[in-house]
C-alpha cells in the first residue's frame, strides 16, 4: 500500500434511487481497470452491475448494503462506498457518511433534485462531508442541467459552480466543455475509454467564455492569488483555479458540478479527475474521538500512521468463511498480527487476515494505515465498535440510532427453517442497529422491528433467500407508546401478614410527565422512611411496570417518578415486598396522571406530476395526514405531510394506482404524537377483543 495520505480519497456516491449511481460506480471501476466488463443494473445479461453483490439488490435494481471498494486513478487511491438510495436504509447511508471524507452527489438530469436527494444532502450536512455534484443522464429526453443547477441552489441551498457545459443534450449529447481548461472533451471507443480533447465548437465559445468567467468569479472568493491575478489582468492558470475551488469545496461553501451520462460512458473520467483535484484527503479532515477516561471529552485524532491505533468498524458482512468487518482507520496503523482492543467490550483481539475489498472480491494486505479503509476477518464485533491500541480508551462518536417504529411477528414453517431464521436474525441485528428482534414473552412469537415496511420486507426476503428459511409473517404492527399528561400522587401500602413470612412495604411520592428521555427515578426519601437498601427494589418495581403500560399494554415512556416517603417493617420488609409496593403505587398513580397513547408520525414527501396533486393530497388527508405544504416545480410538485405510520401501510400501491405510477414518495420517522380520541377508543376495543380471544 502506498503511504502518502495526500493521494488517498475516501468517497461515497450518494443519490436518489434510480439516478444511476450504481451504473456510475460500475463505470468508475471499469475506467480505473478494476473490472474488465460492464453490466447494467437491470441488465439483460443477468450479471448485473458489479457493486450490487446481493442477489436481491440485483433483482430490485437497488443497492441495499454498502460495499466498500478500492481503485486507482492517476496516482490516487480511491476508496468508494456505494451507498443505498432508499430512505428506509438511511442508517447505512449515515454510517458510510461517518467514514467518508468526501462525496459525489449524483443527480438525475431529468428528475433533478428529488426528495431522497434532500434527505441525503441533510445527512451530508450533518457530518459536514464536502461534495461534488454529478448531473447524470444527460442523454435522456427531458434532460436539463440548468434546471438541476437551479434546484441545487433553491432546494438544497448549495452554491453550485458548473465546471462544465454540455455539448448537445438528450439524444444529441456528445460530450462536455471543460471550463477550467477551456477544451471540449469527447469520449470515444465503444466504452468511452478514450478521451479526445479538442477545441471548443464555435457555437459554444461565447457561452463557455461567459460561464468560465462565472466560474473564476466564484473561485476567486477562496484565493487571494486568483483575485490578484484577475485584478492585475494576469493570465489565470488551471492550478490557481483548481486550488481555489478545492478550498471552497473543503469548506463546503461551493459545490462543483460536473456533467455526463454514465450509461452512455460520457463524462466519467473528468469526474474522477475532479475527485482527485477537489475532494479532501484524510489529512484535510479533522476527526474527533471521545476519551472514555475523561468523561467522553473530545480528542482530536492525528491521522498519523505512527501514532497509537484508533479505528472504527462501520460495516459487517457475513461471508461463507466468517464475518467480514469493514474498518476505517483514523489514526495509527492496523497491522496483521498485532493486538488491538475493542473499546466497547474491553476484549483484546489479535488481528488475523487484513484485506482490501473490491466489492465482493478481496486482496490480502499487511496493514491498513491511518486514512484508509479495509476489512478484517474473523473478528467478533458489532458495527459501530471502536478498535484501539492497548492502553488507549477512545471511542469514535456513537452514531445517532433511531428507535424502530414498526414490527411484525415472524415464525419458521419447519425445524430446518428455525435454525436458518435464528442465524439470519442474529446476523442482521448485529449488522444493522435499526433492525431489532425479540421474543414476545406471552405469545412466544419472534418479533422483528425496524424503520419501515420496506425495511422489514427486505429482511424477510433475505431470510428466505440467503438462509433458505421458510417463514410466515404477521401483519405489520405499529409501535405505539403510552405516556402520562399530568402529575399524580401515589401512596401505596403492600401488606401481607397472614400466615408464613410476611410482606410489608409502603411507597409514597408522585409521577409527572418528562419532556425528554424515557424514564427518570428520583429518591427524595429522608430519615430512613424507606431503608436505603430497599430503594433499588422500588426503582426495579417501577421500571418493571414500564414495559407494559396499564392502559393498553404499550411501553410507557416520558415519565418521571419521585418517591419521598414510605414505611417499612423490621421483619416483614424485603426487596420483594418493596417491588410489589412500587408496582401497586405505579398502578395507583398512573390512571390519575391521565395516560394517553402515542403513535409514530412519519414525515412523508410525495413527488407527483402536477395533474395528480389534488388526488395525492386527498389520499394523504384521508390517512389522517396533516399536509405541511406543497411545492410547485413546474411539471411536477412536491407535497410534504405528517402522517401516522399506522395509516401508511400499503400506501405505495395506492399512490401508484392514483397517479398511474408516476409519483413516488419517501417516508421517515418524525416524532411520537398523541393518538386522537376516536382512534384510541378503536385500539382499546381491538385490544379487548384480542384479550377475549386469547382467553
Amino acid at each position: 500500500m502506498k503511504k502518502d495520505i495526500r493521494f488517498v480519497r475516501n468517497i461515497g456516491i450518494s443519490a436518489h434511487i434510480d439516478s444511476g449511481k450504481t451504473t456510475l460506480t460500475e463505470r468508475i471501476l471499469f475506467y480505473t481497470q478494476r473490472i474488465h466488463a460492464m453490466h447494467d443494473v437491470k441488465g439483460k445479461d443477468g450479471v448485473g452491475a458489479f457493486m450490487d453483490s446481493m442477489e436481491l439488490e440485483r433483482e430490485r435494481g437497488i443497492t441495499i448494503a454498502s460495499a466498500a471498494t478500492f481503485c486507482e486513478w492517476k496516482g490516487h487511491e480511491i476508496n468508494i462506498i456505494d451507498t443505498p438510495g432508499h430512505v428506509d436504509f438511511t442508517i447505512e447511508v449515515e454510517r458510510s457518511l461517518r467514514v467518508l471524507d468526501g462525496a459525489i452527489l449524483v443527480l438525475c438530469g431529468v428528475g433533478g433534485v428529488q426528495s431522497q436527494s434532500i434527505t441525503v444532502d441533510q445527512q451530508m450536512r450533518r457530518y459536514r462531508v464536502p461534495c461534488l455534484a454529478f448531473i447524470n443522464k444527460l442523454d435522456r429526453s427531458g434532460a436539463n442541467p440548468q434546471r438541476v443547477l437551479d434546484q441545487l441552489r433553491q432546494r438544497l441551498g448549495h452554491t453550485p459552480v458548473a465546471l462544465q457545459i454540455p455539448i448537445g443534450l438528450e439524444a444529441d449529447f456528445q460530450g462536455v466543455v471543460d471550463l477550467v481548461r477551456m477544451k471540449a472533451l469527447y469520449f470515444d471507443g465503444d466504452k468511452g475509454q478514450a478521451v479526445r480533447v479538442e477545441e471548443i465548437p464555435e457555437a459554444l465559445r461565447e457561452t463557455a467564455r461567459i460561464q468560465r468567467e462565472a466560474l473564476i468569479d466564484a473561485a476567486s472568493l477562496f484565493s487571494d492569488e486568483l483575485t490578484e491575478a484577475i485584478l492585475e489582468e494576469r493570465p489565470v492558470s488551471e492550478e490557481m483555479i483548481l486550488a481555489a475551488l478545492r478550498r471552497g469545496t473543503l469548506e463546503r461553501r461551493i459545490t462543483p458540478v460536473l456533467l455526463g451520462s454514465a450509461y452512455k460512458n460520457k463524462g466519467v473520467q473528468p469526474l474522477l479527475d475532479a475527485v482527485c483535484a477537489l475532494l479532501p484527503c484524510p489529512a484535510d479532515i479533522e476527526n474527533e474521538a471521545l476519551d472514555m477516561d475523561r468523561g467522553e471529552a473530545p480528542v482530536r485524532l492525528s491521522s498519523n500512521a505512527d501514532d497509537p491505533l484508533v479505528a472504527l468498524a462501520f460495516k459487517l458482512e457475513d461471508r461463507s468463511y466468517g464475518q467480514l468487518t469493514y474498518v476505517r482507520v483514523y489514526q495509527g496503523t492496523l497491522a496483521k498480527g498485532e493486538t488491538i482492543v475493542n473499546v466497547r467490550t474491553g476484549r483484546k483481539i489479535k488481528v488475523g487476515r487484513v484485506v482490501r475489498m473490491h466489492s465482493d472480491q478481496m486482496e490480502e494486505i499487511d496493514s491498513i494505515p491511518a486514512g484508509y479503509i479495509g476489512a478484517l476477518f474473523g473478528i467478533d464485533c458489532a458495527s459501530g465498535d471502536t478498535f484501539v491500541s492497548p492502553g488507549l480508551s477512545l471511542t469514535m462518536t456513537s452514531m445517532f440510532v433511531p428507535a424502530p417504529v414498526i414490527s411484525l411477528a415472524i415464525s419458521p414453517k419447519n425445524h430446518k427453517s428455525e435454525i436458518g431464521l435464528s442465524k439470519a436474525l442474529n446476523r442482521f441485528a448485529k449488522e444493522d442497529p435499526t433492525f431489532r428482534t425479540h421474543t414476545n414473552p406471552e405469545t412466544g412469537e419472534t418479533i422483528i422491528s425496524g424503520m419501515g415496511e420496506l425495511h422489514l420486507e427486505v429482511y424477510v426476503e433475505r431470510i428466505q433467500r440467503e438462509y433458505g428459511a421458510e417463514v410466515t409473517v404477521g401483519a405489520p404492527r405499529v409501535a405505539y407508546r403510552e405516556t402520562i399528561t399530568q402529575r399524580a400522587e401515589f401512596d401505596y401500602l403492600h401488606k401481607k401478614q397472614t400466615g408464613g413470612s410476611g410482606q410489608y412495604g409502603r411507597v409514597a411520592g408522585w409521577m409527572e410527565p418528562l419532556a425528554e428521555g424515557d424514564f427518570v427515578f428520583e429518591n427524595q426519601v429522608v430519615g430512613g422512611a424507606i431503608p436505603t437498601q430497599f430503594i433499588p427494589a422500588c426503582e426495579k418495581g417501577f421500571r418493571e411496570c414500564l414495559a407494559k403500560g396499564p392502559k393498553m399494554e404499550f411501553p410507557v415512556t416520558g415519565i418521571k417518578i419521585v418517591i419521598h416517603d414510605g414505611a417499612s417493617h423490621p421483619v416483614d420488609s424485603s426487596d420483594l415486598a418493596f417491588q410489589q409496593a412500587a408496582r401497586g403505587a405505579f398502578h395507583q398513580g398512573y390512571f390519575k396522571a391521565k395516560p394517553v397513547i402515542q403513535e409514530p408520525i412519519m414525515k412523508v414527501v410525495v413527488e407527483t406530476p402536477t395533474g395528480f396533486q389534488g388526488a395525492v393530497m386527498g389520499s394523504l388527508n384521508q390517512r389522517r395526514g396533516m399536509i405541511v405544504g406543497s411545492q410547485d416545480e413546474g411539471s411536477f410538485c412536491v407535497i410534504e405531510a405528517h402522517v401516522p405510520l399506522a395509516e401508511m401501510f400499503g400506501y405505495s400501491t395506492v399512490l401508484r394506482s392514483l397517479t398511474q405510477g408516476q409519483a413516488q414518495f419517501t417516508m421517515e420517522f418524525l416524532a411520537y404524537r398523541q393518538v386522537p380520541q376516536a382512534i384510541a377508543e378503536e385500539l382499546e376495543k381491538k385490544a379487548a377483543a384480542q384479550k377475549k380471544n386469547v382467553a
Binding site: 393530497m617 386527498g618 405541511v628 405544504g629
Partner: protein, 234 residues
Amino acid sequence: MLKRDLILRNPIQTLAGEAESILHAGQFGGILARAGVGKTALIVQIALHAMLHGRNVVHVSLNQPVTRTNLWYREIFGHIARELQIERAEALWEEILPHRFIMTFRTEGFSVPKLEERLTDLIEQNIFLPRMLIIDGLSFEEPPREALAGLKHYARLNELGVWFSIRTHRDEEPATGGLPRQIAEVEDLFEVALSLVPAAEEVQVNVLKGASLPSARDRLALDPATMLVKSRVS
C-alpha cells in the same frame, strides 16, 4: 400561559381594534417595504395571530421552498415563545400547526388562475378550508390588475382575507395620493395598507390605509433583533 393570553398580548391585535382580525372576508391588505426590512416577518406574525385564533391560513410563497417558509414560522414562533415565556411552547406549536398550509410556486410558474385551482382543490376535497390567504413575493412592479380583481372576486366568494407582501424601492417618490407607486394603481382593491420604515433603532409599522390604531399615541414597530412587533407608547 394560555393561548388566550397570547392573543391578547400580541401587539398585532392593536391593528384589528375590537375585531378578531384586521382583514374581513374578501378584503385585501398590503405590507409595503423595501427588500430586507421585514415584510415576511410581519406577515408571518399576522398569520400566527390568525392561527392562534384557530383560523386556517394558506401561505403562498413565490420564491422560497416549503422548508424555508416553515423555518420563518418556527423562528418567529420561537421568538414569541421566548419573549412571552410560554411554557409547553412545543405543544402549542403542534396545536396551531394544522391551521397552516404552505404552498410554494416558482415565480415564473405562478398565476392567479392556477392558485385558484389549487385552492379549490383543497376546499372541495375538504382538505383545508382557508380563512386567510397570504401571498408573499408577488411582483407589483406592474400590478396585475385583472388577475387581482379576479382574486378579489374569488376571495369574496370563499370568504378569504388576503395579505400581500409588496416590495418597494429606496428612492422612489410616492404616487399622487401619497401611496407608494406599486400599490397606487390598484389602491381601490386594497382595504388595508401598512408600510415598514427603518428608523434609528427599530422598524416602524405605519398605517397607510385602513386598520385601526386606537390613538395617535399608539405606535407599532419591529424589534430588529427578533423582528417581532412591539407596541411603543410614545
